[in-house]
C-alpha cells in the first residue's frame, strides 16, 4: 500500500463503513460516525501534508499504479495516481481544509437524524475530489470530476423532505453535466487527435503539437465549457446560488474549497494546451472578468448570508479565471489556495451564526448580533477577501492584478471595479450583521465548530507568505514549485507599487463609505428587493423560458403529437380502414338468404359475361 493509495482510499473506506453501519444498524451512537469520518479525512489530510512536503522539498513525484481500467484498441486507460507538484499543491489545501470542515460539521450536524448519511456523503466527496486531483489521465480525472458533481447533488438535496432542496441539487447536477458534456467531448476529440498510444497527461502534452490548430482550439474551448460548469462561470453559474440549499458545511466544503475550484485546476492542468490556443485564453479571461463583475453586482443586493458568500465565490473564481486567461496559471492557483482558507472560514462563521440564531439566514433579520469571537473571525476573513495587506489574499490578488495590468488593461479595469465591489458587499454584510443599534443574542457556538476556524484564521493571515513576490524580496516559492507553463509578465516595480497602493487606498475608501452607509443605520431596510440586480438580471427566468419551457413543450410535442398522433395515429387509422372496409362487406352479409341468392346470381351472370367475352372469337 503506497502513501497515495492510503491517502485516496481512506475517505472511501470510512464512507463505506459509515454507510454500512447506517444501513445495517440505525441505532448507532453518533460518536462512532464522528470517529470514522474524522479518521478517514484526518488520515488523508495528514498524508496530503506529507506528500506535499515531500514534493516541495524533495522535488519528487510519487506515482502509484493501481490497475488497468480499460484497454481496447488504442484506448488504454490506467488508473494511476500521481502526485506531481500541481497535484501536491492541490492536496496541500484540499485535504486539510476538508478535514477541518469535517470537524466543523461534527458540531454543525450535531444530533441531526441523518448524521451518519451526511458523513458518508462527505467522505465520499473527499474521495472523489482526491481522485480528481491525483488522476494521471483525464479519463480518471473525469470520473472524479463527475463523482464530486454527483455527491454534491446528494449533499445539496440533503434535507430531501423539502422537495425544493432536491430540485436545487438536480439543477446543480444538470448544469454541471452540461459542462461535463463539453469536457467529455473534448477528451474524446483529444484522444482521437493524438496518434500516440496512451492517454496520460504526459503523453497528451507530448503529442499536442501534432494536432492542427482549429481542432486544438475546439478542444480547448470544450474543456473550458467543462470548467465553466464546475466553477460556476457565466453562463453555467445558475446552480451555485441555489446550491446553498444544502447544510452550511456542504457549502463550505463544496462551494468554497474543493469542487468549484476543480475547473481552475483543470485549466491549469491543461496549461500546455491552453498556451497553444491564445484565442481561448482570451475568452477565458473575458468570461472570468464578466463572471466576477456580474457576481459582484448581484451580491450587492443579496440578503441571504449564504447567497452573498456564494456570489462572492463565483466572483473570486472569476478572478482566478482572469489570471488563467492571461496565462498566469500559478498565480491563479495561488489565489485558489488562499481562497480556500478565507472562503471556508467565511462559510464556517456564517454557519456558526446561522446555528446560533435559530437558522435565520437573512441579514436583515440578523442585524445587531453580538458575538465577539465570531466577529473577529468574520472580520479577518472579510479583510482577507478584500485583499487588504498583509492578509494572504493581498498577495494572491495583487499578483493577479499586476498580471492583468501587464496583459490586458481592459480586463484589469473590470477586475479593479470588481474588487471594489467586493469590498462593498462584503463589508455591507459585516456591518449590517454586527454594527447595529439593535441587539440580538444567540446560543453560544459549539467548541467543535470554533476550533477548526482557528487554524483557518491563522492561514488566512499568513498563507500569503508562501508566495511572496519579488517586490517584497520574496522568491515566489510556490510558483517555482508548481513550475507551470506560465507566461511571463514584466511590470516595473514602481508601477507595481503604485498599483498596490492605489488598490488598497480605494478599497479602504470603499470600506469607509460602506461603514458610513450601513453601520448603525437602517439603510439596508430601504433597499429595494426587486429590480434587475436583485433578480439576478433575470438570468434564471431567461433559462427557464428558453431551455426548460422549450424542452417541456418539445417533450409534449414529441410524445403527444408525433408518437401518439402521427405515428400511432397512422397505424391505428390503417387498422381502422380495415375495420371500415370489413364493415362495408359485412353489411352485405345480412343473413337474408334471398340476398345470398342474388349475389350468386350476380356472380353467375358476371361469370357468363366474362366467358362470353373471352370466348366470343370462337362463337
Amino acid at each position: 500500500m503506497s502513501t497515495l493509495t492510503i491517502l485516496l482510499f481512506a475517505p472511501l473506506l470510512s464512507a463505506f463503513l459509515i454507510f454500512l453501519i447506517t444501513v445495517l444498524y440505525s441505532q448507532t451512537k453518533q460518536y462512532v460516525y464522528t470517529f470514522l469520518a474524522l479518521m478517514g479525512s484526518g488520515l488523508s489530510a495528514l498524508l496530503a501534508l506529507y506528500v506535499s512536503y515531500y514534493s516541495y522539498f524533495e522535488k519528487q513525484v510519487l506515482v502509484t499504479h493501481l490497475f488497468t481500467w480499460l484497454n481496447i484498441g488504442d484506448f488504454l486507460i490506467e488508473v494511476t495516481l500521481k502526485a506531481d507538484a500541481l497535484s501536491s499543491f492541490m492536496l496541500l489545501f484540499v485535504a486539510p481544509v476538508s478535514f477541518l470542515i469535517h470537524v466543523y460539521a461534527t458540531g454543525y450536524m450535531n444530533n441531526d437524524k441523518s448524521y451518519g448519511r451526511f458523513f458518508a456523503y462527505f467522505n465520499l466527496f473527499v474521495f472523489f475530489m482526491l481522485l480528481l486531483v491525483l488522476a494521471d489521465n483525464p479519463i480518471v480525472m473525469f470520473i472524479g470530476w463527475e463523482g464530486v458533481g454527483l455527491v454534491s447533488y446528494a449533499l445539496i438535496g440533503f434535507y430531501y423532505e423539502d422537495v425544493k432542496n432536491t430540485y436545487a441539487g438536480n439543477k446543480a447536477f444538470i448544469v454541471n453535466r452540461v459542462g461535463d458534456f463539453g469536457f467529455l467531448s473534448a477528451l474524446m476529440l483529444l484522444f482521437l487527435s493524438i496518434p500516440l498510444g496512451g492517454f496520460s497527461f504526459d503523453n497528451i502534452f507530448l503529442g499536442l503539437w501534432l494536432i492542427d490548430s482549429h481542432r486544438l482550439t475546439l478542444i480547448a474551448f470544450l474543456l473550458f465549457v467543462g470548467a465553466m460548469g464546475k466553477s460556476a462561470q457565466i453562463p453555467l453559474f445558475v446552480w451555485l446560488p441555489d446550491a446553498m440549499a444544502g447544510p452550511t458545511p456542504v457549502s463550505a466544503l463544496i462551494h468554497a474549497a474543493t469542487m468549484v475550484t476543480a475547473g481552475v485546476y483543470m485549466v491549469a492542468r491543461f496549461a500546455p494546451l491552453y498556451n497553444m490556443t491564445p484565442d481561448i485564453l482570451l475568452l477565458i479571461a473575458y468570461v472570468g472578468a464578466f463572471s466576477a463583475l456580474f457576481a459582484a453586482i448581484i451580491a450587492t443586493r443579496q440578503y441571504d448570508i449564504k447567497k452573498i458568500l456564494a456570489y462572492s465565490t463565483m466572483s473570486q473564481l472569476g478572478f482566478m479565471f482572469m489570471a488563467l486567461g492571461v496565462g498566469a496559471y500559478s498565480t491563479a492557483l495561488f489565489h485558489m489556495f488562499t481562497h480556500a482558507f478565507f472562503k471556508a472560514l467565511l462559510f464556517m462563521a456564517a454557519g456558526a451564526i446561522i446555528v446560533a440564531y435559530h437558522h435565520k439566514q437573512d441579514i436583515r433579520e440578523l442585524r445587531g448580533i453580538r458575538a465577539s469571537g465570531l466577529f473577529i473571525l468574520m472580520l479577518i476573513a472579510t479583510l482577507t477577501i478584500t485583499a487588504i495587506p498583509p492578509f494572504s489574499a493581498f498577495f494572491s490578488k495583487d499578483a493577479i492584478m499586476s498580471a492583468l495590468y501587464a496583459g490586458h488593461i481592459e480586463i484589469f479595469a473590470i477586475a479593479f471595479v470588481t474588487s471594489l465591489l467586493t469590498a462593498f458587499y462584503m463589508f455591507r454584510m459585516l456591518f449590517v450583521l454586527f454594527f447595529s443599534k439593535s441587539e440580538q443574542r444567540g446560543q453560544p457556538t459549539r467548541k467543535s465548530m470554533l476550533y477548526p476556524m482557528t487554524p483557518l484564521t491563522v492561514l488566512c493571515i499568513f498563507a500569503g507568505l508562501l508566495n511572496v513576490p519579488e517586490i517584497f524580496s520574496g522568491n515566489l516559492s510556490v510558483s517555482h514549485w508548481l513550475h507551470l507553463a506560465d507566461q511571463s509578465f514584466f511590470v516595473p516595480h514602481t508601477q507595481e507599487m503604485l498599483l498596490m497602493s492605489l488598490n488598497t487606498f480605494f478599497t479602504l475608501a470603499v470600506i469607509v463609505y460602506t461603514y458610513k452607509k450601513y453601520a448603525y443605520t437602517d439603510a439596508i431596510e430601504f433597499e429595494k428587493s426587486d429590480g434587475m440586480i436583485a433578480n439576478k438580471f433575470y438570468i434564471d427566468a431567461l433559462y427557464t423560458k428558453t431551455v426548460v419551457t422549450v424542452l417541456e413543450k418539445l417533450s409534449y410535442f414529441f410524445d403527444k403529437k408525433i408518437s401518439q398522433l402521427l405515428i400511432d395515429g397512422t397505424i391505428n387509422s390503417m387498422a381502422l380502414v380495415y375495420l371500415k372496409v370489413g364493415n362495408l362487406f359485412a353489411r352485405a352479409e345480412n343473413g337474408n338468404v334471398r340476398f345470398y341468392a342474388l349475389y350468386m346470381l350476380i356472380g353467375l351472370v358476371s361469370g357468363f359475361v366474362y366467358l362470353y367475352w373471352s370466348l366470343r372469337s370462337f362463337l
Partner: protein
C-alpha cells in the same frame, strides 16, 4: 327441336330465380327452387334425347326423387319455423348475419 326445349328450360329457370329472389314467403321461394330443379331436369332430358344417351335421364329421375324427399324435409322445417316465429316471411330469418 332441342332449341325449343332449351328456351323453355331457360325461361323456367329465370322465372325460378326471379321468384327465389323477389318473393318473401318461404313456401313460394321453395316453389321457385323446385322450378329451378325442374328447369334443369327438362334441359337434361332434352339433351339426352337429342344425344340418344339415356344416362342423363337416369340422373333426372334421381333428381326428382331427391326433390320429393327435400319437399318432405322442407315442409317439416317450415312447420317448425312457423311455430317459432308465427310467420314465414324470410326477412325475419337473418340468423346467418350473426346479429341476433
Amino acid at each position: 327441336m332441342l332449341k325449343g326445349y332449351m328456351i323453355l328450360s331457360i325461361i323456367l329457370f329465370s322465372i325460378g330465380i326471379v321468384g327465389l329472389i323477389s318473393r318473401r314467403n318461404i313456401i313460394v321461394m321453395y316453389m321457385s327452387i323446385e322450378l329451378l330443379l325442374n328447369a334443369v331436369n327438362l334441359s337434361l332430358i332434352a339433351i339426352s334425347a337429342d344425344l340418344a344417351d339415356s344416362s342423363a335421364q337416369v340422373m333426372s329421375l334421381i333428381i326428382i326423387a331427391i326433390a320429393a324427399s327435400e319437399a318432405a324435409l322442407f315442409m317439416s322445417l317450415f312447420v317448425v319455423l312457423f311455430r317459432n316465429r308465427a310467420s314465414l316471411d324470410v326477412n325475419l330469418f337473418t340468423i346467418l348475419g350473426g346479429k341476433e
